[in-house]
Symmetry: D2
Subunit: 326 residues, 4 copies
Amino acid sequence: MKRKYSVFLAHVGTFSDRYCAGYSDKRYEIEDLFDRVKSIPLLSAVDIALTPDVIDKKDEIVKNLKRTGLKVASVCMDTTADRIFSQGSFSSLDPGVRRKTLEDAKSGIDFAAEVGTGIFTIWPGQDGYDYMFQADYIKERELFAEGIAACCEYRKDINITLEYKLKEPRTHSYISSIGTTLLMIEKIGAKNLGVVIDFGHAVFGYETPGETVALCKIYGDRLMHIHMNDNYSLWDDDMICGSVHTINYLEFIYWLRRTNYEGYITFDQFPYREDSRDAVAESAKWFDYFESLMDKADMEEIETVLVKKNAVESSRLMRKILMGQA
Amino acid sequence: MKRKYSVFLAHVGTFSDRYCAGYSDKRYEIEDLFDRVKSIPLLSAVDIALTPDVIDKKDEIVKNLKRTGLKVASVCMDTTADRIFSQGSFSSLDPGVRRKTLEDAKSGIDFAAEVGTGIFTIWPGQDGYDYMFQADYIKERELFAEGIAACCEYRKDINITLEYKLKEPRTHSYISSIGTTLLMIEKIGAKNLGVVIDFGHAVFGYETPGETVALCKIYGDRLMHIHMNDNYSLWDDDMICGSVHTINYLEFIYWLRRTNYEGYITFDQFPYREDSRDAVAESAKWFDYFESLMDKADMEEIETVLVKKNAVESSRLMRKILMGQA
Amino acid sequence: MKRKYSVFLAHVGTFSDRYCAGYSDKRYEIEDLFDRVKSIPLLSAVDIALTPDVIDKKDEIVKNLKRTGLKVASVCMDTTADRIFSQGSFSSLDPGVRRKTLEDAKSGIDFAAEVGTGIFTIWPGQDGYDYMFQADYIKERELFAEGIAACCEYRKDINITLEYKLKEPRTHSYISSIGTTLLMIEKIGAKNLGVVIDFGHAVFGYETPGETVALCKIYGDRLMHIHMNDNYSLWDDDMICGSVHTINYLEFIYWLRRTNYEGYITFDQFPYREDSRDAVAESAKWFDYFESLMDKADMEEIETVLVKKNAVESSRLMRKILMGQA
Amino acid sequence: MKRKYSVFLAHVGTFSDRYCAGYSDKRYEIEDLFDRVKSIPLLSAVDIALTPDVIDKKDEIVKNLKRTGLKVASVCMDTTADRIFSQGSFSSLDPGVRRKTLEDAKSGIDFAAEVGTGIFTIWPGQDGYDYMFQADYIKERELFAEGIAACCEYRKDINITLEYKLKEPRTHSYISSIGTTLLMIEKIGAKNLGVVIDFGHAVFGYETPGETVALCKIYGDRLMHIHMNDNYSLWDDDMICGSVHTINYLEFIYWLRRTNYEGYITFDQFPYREDSRDAVAESAKWFDYFESLMDKADMEEIETVLVKKNAVESSRLMRKILMGQA
């Protein structure tokens, strides 16, 4: 099956962390970044995060989209990089911050429409808390839900998608797991509201990504976008897709197929010490390899095994999918 | 504030694990277990889990309740100890197992009414999976929800309470977190359906127990029962309450008070190598100590600090509560 | 490369955990267990754990070894199943328990010699602590080291191998990681003292098993035995080998080859709900598959990639090993 | 007992992470940082990390030390912030990088002597790997050990102290745990080589910090310096000391007293969203509170409880220490 692959534009650039302010001395302009994405086999799109360094370069982005022919998989608002959000965006107790958040969201949604994507992503990384006795969980969650509802109301032709993550940059996020995310979505109830599954966030939150896809199906068919990467199951290491897990991806793809997900697979990784373009190229090759294995697998046989609830049969099936025989 | 404390009757007995079939050579009959609970200061009730070894001793339990004057905090059905449930109870793909599960539930609910508790607890420890490609997540979750709905229908004067846990005995449980639990409750929608928070399950699932209480409040005021113990944040160690965490309990109690929880605090711990009665006595003293600290705390001051969203103030508040001054 | 595969005799039997006293109603006698092992393709040996239920059946074991022609990969003493060890074996503060431990060790070592294996394994699962303020770490560790030294002294023709594990059944073990294990071995200094790597223990202790092999090489070439299974990186799930991880096994095998490990691969898993014989058969097929992939890999190319320290090259190499091409 | 408290000079400044390039718009010069430390009650010293932004300001540091009267608890070399170390410092496969590392170490050691501290700290954050098949563990560890040995050789009047950490910024560090650290120290064997325990690193590596102190005592009395902070047991959250754990600190202090640690307690925390000076002031108050509790505790009684190996007694002891009575 041919998937549509994308990458966050900035993620073919350079990276820093809390210790090292820049792992590379290279500087990539918008144009360079587009060229780098364009050069990666299998990729046909970019995701645009409207961080402070990019927010004023919308025209340049539009120009480069035309120039390269790349599509836009999603537009993602910033609620994390700008320090104004350091104690929350939609959940901020400061009405001024909440106002700015909503304004940013609206202009981001309009930009999404302009660049031809129906997916507008909110990853509320600063909405949460670090310490106990630091937050009024009820009040802040209410404010958060109000803000999201307002985004959904603003423009019904664009889907608002929530990306959950257990922690980081806060020690605790409000939109923490598939459970709390779907719960909020159910309560807001808007049709144009859904989920972004970040494969790595699911894994390090001790979710089984395939089951996460199933949960999205059960509770309102809410899966709208996907971020891809890999990690060691305990932190958002944001590594090259396929470099740690294998079987996990295969089951994930099975459930994507069974629930008819046809959106983009967007690589969202932090290759601090690598050439970031090459790291994305690797991820695409890995994912494509996993897809090719599932192309050869027998979907009906899988369904038959699943209802046997027998781990020996499951193991045999995994080997068969991986080795082409058992 | 005077809490009502209880303990699972069997948990003043003896314990085994997967390596050691019995950490003690003592044998306690039902009568002994009641005497042991009765002897613990601060405790006024028991929780009864209807495991295979107890299920035929209902009369004896009733007799001992009268004899000792102990109340019943909850009745809990067995879906874990009997090997018939090894691949699930309410979610079992075997109609015979599902039928037995529902029958057991109904007779358990009736027993709850008989012994004067309004709380009937279901901890579906075997409902989940161990391996990838082992389960049809959609089908099994649907079956599970149907079974729970039938329990709620059976008798409206008894509250059905779901106890979630991330894992163990399965590597993955369906009722895994406060999020997936409330999601299922919302969908079933019955008024007599709620949540048991096991403090330790919340902690090792990387929830903040105080926030878990708040989530129950937000989504339908669903907190109905509480299990207490402690652990090292990574596994359900089921240790003496207060032996690892401190601040976490204080914030938890704050949210219990703020949301007006007035039910039992039931100790649910596995003191493999200790005298189990004494271990419960310790837990009760710890919890009572935490309550006494919160008695001295200023609830309004706490609320004021929470909306400052300032960790330095939070730290000062914690010290003040703990030390009686800052 | 043809590995020698073995399994713990008891692990083709039945299992229980702290909730369910027996997941199967089948009962296997010693003879049955041997027949089951004998029937598994690829296996040529058993490991014998001298638990209380087996300790008096040495003659029967010897008889069945002859009957089936199976070899013995290792003999493992019990320091966990017998409740006398519930507060430690070699580290026990009770001189009587320490005396029994050493006597058991000596007779176990003799039995190892009798059944023709040079590997005597000690997994000190109860030597550790659960609570803070529960143990005098210095005193207990000294006692433990003295006991191990005495075992090494007893008979120089048998290798004493220590199996480390971060936790369980205690919340904290003394022999917790490859680091603390090698440290103790270095200090005792006996030539016939070494390490058992349990693959799953390494993984859930956040070790990279391949690096663990390298550490054994660096610090005295101490790797003497291997236990195999799989898990989700956070607990000793003891699952079918290959059912969760893939790349991890390949790197592990690379380091086994590079450091010339030629001992047994012993399956040590807990298939609670499965036919345990079939679960072992699956593990053997998985491991053999991983070995066959490494047979096709170019060892020199791998070494070349390792010194490039370039994750993109590493990813390409992994794909090449797995897919047979990159 | 009066402890000597210090803080990393830069940690009363401002912070960034991988998402937000600066959580504060304040800019503190060296002079300001010194003033901020000076203003914190209980603190009498600073630790100086020779990061690229500070390395050329040694004169200014010396001047401000004189001006404020603050002592130096330790000097710490940089092997993390300068991107030249992104694939390792002492373990780098590039001889040029290793040469620079050693030169930096030597000039740092001289600076330590100049500012009157005997503690020179190496935290080799980039020495490790991210991916499997990315590193030759044997070769890199050998290079690392050679470099450390050279540092110890350089000047015997200064203690070289190694700070271990399981992970971050790499997914895996070579100096990962107390075990692997002591193992390397034992092998190098220099008298002026020791350990820095970072309390938080110990906790999120699933060590019990009190036991870690005991291990340093057992294996050569190697504890030379201490970093203090707190976290949720799964990541290096670097929070205000005392804001998460309580009992853990008390046991830690017990073992510090029992093993006669008399060095500095250095606060090493990342208060991204807080006033960093105030966050350190909080930590000092917390730690001092814990010390005051231990002042009142009976050291002999503790020792008596430890050899009972009875968790109920341990729990009672903890309550007694915390509440002043049991």
